[in-house]
């Protein structure tokens, strides 16, 4: 009780000071905006932003689902064989090193301005870290586990998905956390660069109109999306890879 009350109080004080500084004209209002401007933005464009947020979250959800499934599957299969992993791991690392934003204009040209291009860009941004982390997680398992499973009569497929994959869970979950963060970043970015809807789009749109209230509103909502996903991921981490949650 006390902790939340204290946080609320601190937030209220910060908001009050912020508004006061704005009213006193001490800071450039274009750069720093103000709580009253943000409140105004909520009244004027709240609904638009809410539906934009929903679209953004749908795009993120789709990209996450695809990247998780494809990335983990690929990583498990690639990590299963030592020689395969030796060749694929450096390739994945190199892919992660490329600033994937350079592919975005291509994706735009090929898929248009709609949500498809955002989802594809999101998947590309997240899939490589997920695959690489999964591969490493599977590779670093003690061969003793494989021997034990084989001794009990498991075939290759069963060893892979019933023994190794679960054991590699901490590494996989770490990859999922990283990949998801990158996906969210990619999707919001792509919306900002070129889009027809979504949080990023509306932030950009209002920037060109110098509506800082709306810009800050969009930013706050984006941070909210990131925070929510962070909480979800932490929950997943605790649930599926408790040793790692530190």
């Amino acid at each position: 009780m006390n902790r939340w009350l204290r946080r609320l109080l601190i937030t209220a004080v910060v908001v009050a000071i912020w508004e006061g500084v704005y009213r006193a004209g001490l800071l450039n209002p274009i750069i720093f905006s103000a709580p009253s401007l943000i409140a105004k933005a909520v009244r004027e464009d709240g609904m638009t932003f809410l539906s934009a947020m929903r679209l953004t979250m749908v795009e993120i959800g789709l990209a996450v689902a695809i990247a998780w499934i494809l990335g983990v599957a690929f990583g498990v299969v690639a990590g299963a064989s030592k020689s395969l992993a030796r060749v694929i791991a450096p390739v994945l690392s190199a892919m992660i090193a490329i600033p994937l934003v350079i592919l975005y204009p291509l994706i735009l040209a090929w898929l248009g301005l709609g949500p498809e291009s955002k989802v594809v860009f999101g998947v590309l941004s997240g899939i490589f870290p997920i695959a690489l982390n999964t591969l490493i997680g599977v590779r670093h398992l003690d061969p003793g586990y494989t021997r034990m499973a084989q001794a009990m009569g498991a075939n290759r497929f069963q060893v892979l998905f019933l023994v190794l994959a679960p054991l590699a869970l901490p590494a996989i979950v770490a990859g999922l956390r990283l990949g998801t963060a990158l996906i969210i970043i990619a999707i919001v970015l792509s919306e900002m660069l070129s889009s027809t809807d979504g949080l990023g789009f509306w932030i950009s749109y209002h920037r060109s109109l110098f509506n800082t209230g709306q810009v800050y509103l969009g930013i706050l909502l984006a941070v909210l999306v990131a925070a929510i996903s962070n909480i979800l991921l932490s929950w997943i981490e605790k649930r599926f890879a408790p040793a790692k949650a530190a």
Binding site: Y104, L106, M192
Partner: protein, 252 residues
């Protein structure tokens, strides 16, 4: 040969991609208007590299990257080293840092533009802001990777605080410091390109975005190929450097 294979794998992969690309395009599997053949794109690239204005844009972007890199990598590493050394500070900052890293920093671009305009400085500041925290994270990992027992041993033999930093921490962290530089490079390039695409009169990012909008696929693809080659090359170089400094460092 098998020793070299992991090293060469990225290059071989890219060559494979080029091959598939060329075949798909020439055979009509992919629409050649949408995906012109690799060979044609390489020709266009050659022309671009010859053009002075393209080189000027490339040079500008490279300069922005260089300046941002030189600022953020030492800053981030030192901040990380300092925090990593103190377990209490680390526990305090760690959750905040994780949250910070998961927030899409591109959403702050409008504020950056309001505050700093769309010139050279803004690109550098944005790239530095984007890269700082992740480099700091590497610095923290580097400091924490130094075993306390090693530092204790040095103290037992009379090392001063300064000597522990120079003789123990720095050499022990060398591979991770190079790793920090490598990650710093990736993120500074990303940051500069994003800022250029979002709002900039000049630079490779701006060019690529404009080409994309006007559907000039050969030029766009050519510049993509160029950036990919350059970044993968630098990345592999730094990775090779890091690995070469890794010899005789495993704590057996």
């Amino acid at each position: 040969m098998t020793q070299l294979l992991p090293r060469l794998a990225p290059a071989l992969f890219l060559a494979l991609v080029a091959l598939v690309w060329e075949t798909a395009s020439r055979s009509g599997l992919a629409d050649p208007d949408v995906l012109p053949p690799f060979s044609h794109v390489m020709g266009v690239l050659w022309g671009l590299v010859g053009s002075a204005s393209f080189r000027a844009d490339l040079g500008l972007t490279a300069l922005e990257v260089a300046v941002a890199f030189v600022i953020v990598v030492p800053l981030g590493l030192i901040a990380g080293l300092y925090l990593g050394e103190k377990p209490q500070a680390y526990r305090l900052f760690s959750p905040l840092l994780n949250l910070l890293l998961s927030v899409p920093k591109s959403i702050f671009l409008p504020i950056f533009i309001f505050a700093f305009g769309i010139g050279f400085g803004q690109k550098v500041i944005y790239a530095v802001t984007l890269t700082f925290f992740i480099v700091m994270l590497t610095g923290i990992a580097a400091a924490r990777s130094v075993p306390a027992g090693l530092v204790n041993m040095a103290r037992a033999f009379g090392a001063s605080k300064r000597q522990t930093y120079l003789e123990i921490y720095l050499p022990a962290m060398e591979p991770l410091i190079i790793e920090g530089a490598r990650i710093g490079f990736i993120y500074t390039v990303t940051g500069v390109l994003i800022a250029e695409m979002y709002g900039s009169p000049r630079g490779i990012g701006r060019l690529m975005f404009a080409w994309g909008e006007s559907f000039r696929m050969p030029e766009l693809l050519a510049s993509v190929v160029l950036v990919v080659i350059l970044t993968v090359f630098v990345n592999e170089l730094l990775r090779w450097l890091e690995d070469s400094r890794q010899t005789h460092r495993s704590r057996a």
